[in-house]
Symmetry: C2
Subunit: 190 residues, 2 copies
């Protein structure tokens, strides 16, 4: 079930527009113009505007799920696992700034069925993340505090960085990555 080049083009352009204007304020005419087609021609490749959003959100969810799977499988300390999770968030956001913004901010416009799938998938990811935090707290590597608070502080400490992905060169970006990771380490390591 590979995706045609044209279809991928439509998704990429749409993600950029959804990021900039939001899903609801982006018209299929906006998308068609950016791709270089007549509005109606889009419908040879997609079946609805909602389908675009669904695919952007699912692709992004897939990246997080795959990253989590890998980290869970590895034989590493909880400190290393958390370090890898922070890198996972930073890397995904760096390489897919538009999709990540849509994933973060536009998922509420998903149609009902896909919305509930999305939410339960996100919940599963959060639970896996918290399991690592809990394990690190229990063994005394991490400061004891509410898992929900810890989880939210960590992911939100990272969430703003993708807005700088295009403004910063690679080395400036890496410097910020290290600053964030140091901050989190000081905040959570015992």
């Amino acid at each position: 079930m590979k995706r045609s080049k044209r279809k991928q083009e439509i998704y990429v352009s749409s993600a950029r527009l959804f990021r900039k204007k939001g899903y609801a304020a982006t018209s299929v005419r906006d998308i068609a113009e950016l791709v270089g087609l007549e509005p109606s021609s889009l419908y040879s490749h997609i079946k609805s505007k909602e389908e675009i959003l669904v695919n952007i959100c699912n692709d992004c969810a897939e990246l997080f799920a795959e990253g989590m799977d890998l980290i869970q499988k590895e034989e590493k300390t909880n400190i290393e696992k958390l370090d890898n999770l922070v890198d996972l968030h930073i890397d995904i956001a760096y390489h897919n700034p538009s999709s990540v913004t849509v994933f973060n901010d536009e998922w509420r416009h998903l149609p009902k069925e896909e919305l509930s799938q999305f939410l339960s998938r996100r919940k599963a990811y959060e639970d896996d993340f918290k399991k690592i935090l809990k394990s690190g707290m229990d063994e005394g590597s991490f400061v004891h505090m509410s898992l929900t608070t810890t989880f939210n502080i960590i992911i939100n400490s990272v969430k703003w960085l993708h807005f700088f992905a295009k403004k910063l060169d690679k080395s400036a970006f890496e410097a910020k990555r290290e600053e964030i990771k140091s901050f989190i380490r000081r905040g959570i390591y015992t």
Copy 2:
């Protein structure tokens, strides 16, 4: 220039809808229904949908600006000032969860002129915040790191809390406040 009760009602209802569905996806018919008027009757109190957004965003900006003014005037250490700033963000979000969400996420839908005012005001706030951070770093109270990184980590560590404002009772909320503040302290104090 006081605001009529009806007008305030419209702003409050609109903020709730903008928070839940986003500005673009909220119709004036949605607002009218929640307020209990016919759509056209709204226009006796407001002159456009955009005007509502402008007022919500400006009211919220005002709360932050007033808080910053107060903190700047006080004779306090930088450590105390930062502590007060974190409380300012948490308190505003706790008491105005809808407006804060609109302020955070929907400002990009502001009309051109109000948008540029909004951005320059936000920039001024950020600069004031950074001035306190820089002063604390220079005197050796705070860990030395990029002001932009420090600022963004701090405000984003707090930004998720208003989603819990209605689910948590006061004491549970205060517990989370302290956890966040401890985390920030460990991350930034020398």
